[in-house]
């Protein structure tokens, strides 16, 4: 049994707030800008000449039919793929290519289309791994464990507990994630991405394979993350209802090209988009 902590420290704990990576970009200004980016694998052009931006504090959706280059676009943003042409400006710093570890350190974190968790580890441990870029003590201190590393660890654990509370996954805190149903694994993965306290959160199909109730839960969590932590979110999603409901702006890709960009309303009225993707006019 955990030793009861006196109620004073509980109140101190309540002051603690998770927040997005701090920087001096004002809400609504451009956080990330993609300019004329092209990416090809041998002869296959995955992305050609795409430009769009993500403003701080918004929920930006990237949609498009299968093979449109959405996941490639996310991989370019978080530095997993390096585009042959074009520049990416993040927080005003233009870059051509960077390693994904650097992207993570600069406050970009993501989830994956096919869940990439450590199946044998508990929910708690999985989310703890998300704190790794925030750990200040080096391997020596961590191996020593006691003292400063322990104090730091307690801080990280507290942050992780806030995330567990936020995502309402207390009941599976100590359950190995491999034993969890798919919808919950998705939630744990979101938890791990949040643990890095990202400025920009990239979500690759967060609702794929979920039932209606799980989708509603996930939408609520995404909106709450955006609202409470001020995290900017870029997401790929297939469920049009969800995209139209939760995103502020939508960029539409088709065959690696950008065919539409704007508010959900504008996009759903765009004839190119209708032709390429939606098939029928969206009545919203």
């Amino acid at each position: 049994m955990n030793a009861p902590v006196d109620s004073k420290s509980l109140r101190a704990a309540e002051q603690f707030q998770l927040s997005a990576h701090q920087d001096d970009i004002a809400k609504g200004d451009v956080l990330l800008k993609v300019e004329n980016v092209s990416l090809s694998f041998g002869g296959v052009k995955a992305i050609s000449d795409i430009s769009f931006d993500v403003r701080k504090g918004e929920i930006r959706a990237i949609i498009g039919p299968n093979g449109a280059g959405k996941t490639s676009m996310l991989n370019v943003i978080n530095g997993f793929y390096h585009p042959q042409i074009g520049t990416i400006t993040y927080r005003g710093q233009p870059r051509h290519a960077m390693r994904s570890t650097e992207a993570a350190r600069q406050g970009i974190s993501r989830t994956f289309q096919n869940i990439a968790l450590f199946k044998g580890m508990s929910t708690l441990d999985n989310i703890m791994t998300g704190r790794i870029t925030l750990q200040k003590r080096n391997v020596f201190w961590q191996a020593l464990w006691h003292g400063p590393a322990m104090r730091e660890d307690i801080e990280h654990r507290r942050a992780v507990e806030h995330i567990i509370d936020f995502l309402e996954i207390q009941a599976i805190r100590h359950t190995p994630v491999g034993r969890l149903p798919y919808g919950l694994q998705k939630r744990v993965e979101l938890g791990r991405a949040l643990a890095a306290e990202p400025a920009l959160l990239l979500l690759d199909e967060p609702m794929a394979g979920m039932n209606l109730e799980e989708k509603e839960d996930m939408s609520r969590f995404i909106l709450d993350v955006n609202d409470q932590f001020g995290t900017t979110i870029a997401l790929i999603e297939h469920d049009m209802g969800v995209v139209m409901d939760i995103s502020d702006r939508v960029v539409v890709l088709d065959y690696g090209r950008k065919i539409g960009d704007g508010t959900p309303d504008e996009v759903s009225k765009n004839q190119d988009v209708i032709d390429a993707y939606l098939g029928v006019p969206h009545d919203e």
């Binding site: 955990n2 902590v5 704990a13 507990e161 567990i164 207390q170 009941a171 609202d227 409470q228």
Partner: protein
Amino acid sequence: MAQTDASLDTFPKYLLANAKRFGGRAAMRNKDLGIWQKWTWAELLEEIRDYSLGLEALGVKKDDKIAIVGQNRPRLYWTFCAAQAIGAVPVPVYADSVAEEMSYVLDHAGVVLAICQDQEQVDKVQSMADKLPSLKKIVYDEPRGLRDYDHENLHSIDEIQQRGKDIHAAEGDARWLKTIGQGKGDDLSVILYTSGTTGRPKGVMLTFDNLVSAAKSGCEFDHLDEHEETIAYLPLAWVGDHTFSYAQSYVAGFCVSCPESPETISEDRREIAPTYFFAPPRVFETLLTQIMVRMEDAGRTKKAMFGHFLAHARKVGERILNGEPVGAWDRLKYRIGDILVYGPLKNRLGMTKLRVGYTAGEAIGPEIFRFYRSLGLNLKQLYGQTEASVYVTAQPDGEIRADTVGRPSPGVEIKIADSGEVLYRSPGVFLGYYKDEEATRSTKTPDGWVHTGDAGFLDKEGHLKIIDRAKDVGKLNSGALFAPKYIENALKFFPNIKECVAFGDGRDYVAAFLNIDLTSVGNWAERNNISYASYQELANHPQVYEMMASHVDEVNRQLASEEMMAGAQVHRFLVLHKELDPDDGELTRTQKVRRSFIAERYAELIEALYDGSTEKFVSTEVTFEDGRKGKISATVKIADAKVHEVTAAGFKEAAE
């Protein structure tokens, strides 16, 4: 302590007293961010005082009704006392009830303020706000997601407490203490809406005297004091939780723990290890099933050990618990079993420190009940009602039986009406139904007796036995009591009988329809080389009729041993040619028998049961799963059953 107790007649007064006498003891715990946080009684007083002053500043006045919508959160429990301290009346409602039912309750109670757990409940209440003319403000506990809401009539408990704290700093608490001092025992304490299986929910008004006296006698009955630990996980609006987690906690001064979330209860219970625990039978059933499923996966040694010691526990466990004489070797073996099996098992269940456990609400399976008792857990049954502040009867230690609900609780008188209905009178009896004089009159007699709506009888040792809902109980032409569900349950106890419908009201004798259980009887048929092609064929098999006759005979023997029921033995029965099915309207979707519908549909068969014929040809329309209709026809045999003489009391013990 005895003198001070007498002057304590309201919960706010108990709070003040507890802050003095148990100031440093834990009053409440809550698991937050994975760590158990606690409040002592002294801290609880501060929290509730600030909250209460804040509510007053918000405009809550004496006799205002305050709705509490949510689960077992500490601050929702504080709301009870904070409201009562300023003379307001809390009205907890079932958080998961549908919007229509909730809006009826909130409107009927005329609540001015609704305290909601979180965004979900706030949304729900706001959606019905235009139908609630009296509702002025909504208050929430958990702020998540509510930041962008219009806060003109929406407040957080934090904000209210802060306001109260400021008031306290400025004016002190003399006026607040004086208001508490003016509270009287016969003031209205709480209104609990009964979920009501029939018609609209009714608001049961309980006074402080009702709840305090019921809580006190309950504590004395089971020797509960400030050292108990409990976990609160049942709905706040239910009288059981209100008594166990609020009234008794204040009266005895023990600590109540709130789980981290509804899904973590079993984990949390293991960490808290409650000494006093209440659960409806289904909780005990689920726990037992979980254990058995896990044991299926265990290794061979563990399985053998588990089986061996559990068999031993069945043999002597209950006798040891009841303090009956048991041989030294058996005792020693039980002790070893405790170390190897029972102890770890109890730890898994979170019942290592359990002193008193109760189950109520519906009948618990005798096997399940015995399983827990044989492990040395003092599990008991009680019979209670919202209208009685819970306690009507309870089983005293050492007099536990699976088939009765115990003796009348201290201070409770019981009488049985001619119709078989159980009536009681006690200091816990409610004031009346809120704004429903008519219902009050039909339930509570002018001299204080309350109709339970249940039929039952007191057996020779003075234990109450509930047999059925009073409205379902009828009379045979001989004048003997006919309780269909009692007979049906006795028959359904046999695994071979899946469903059963008994007839007898206004008839000369009792007769019954049976449905065999295809899995169980099919299994038996396979083992005995009986071939069959369909349910219908198996049901009509002579050997199946023999088997059913032996079951009916067993039940008749059991009925004969009980004076009240002896006249209602089953004289004739038949095995139906089809299974009763909700698709055909014969059962409800929750698998309850629709008696009147069946009586109409099978009228010819019922007549055959009473006109002495030995078989009857019937043709019945059925609906298949894909919606098509068809007909099943068969010649159903009707069998006579042996009827037993009323046996002497001595038979009773052997009857089980």
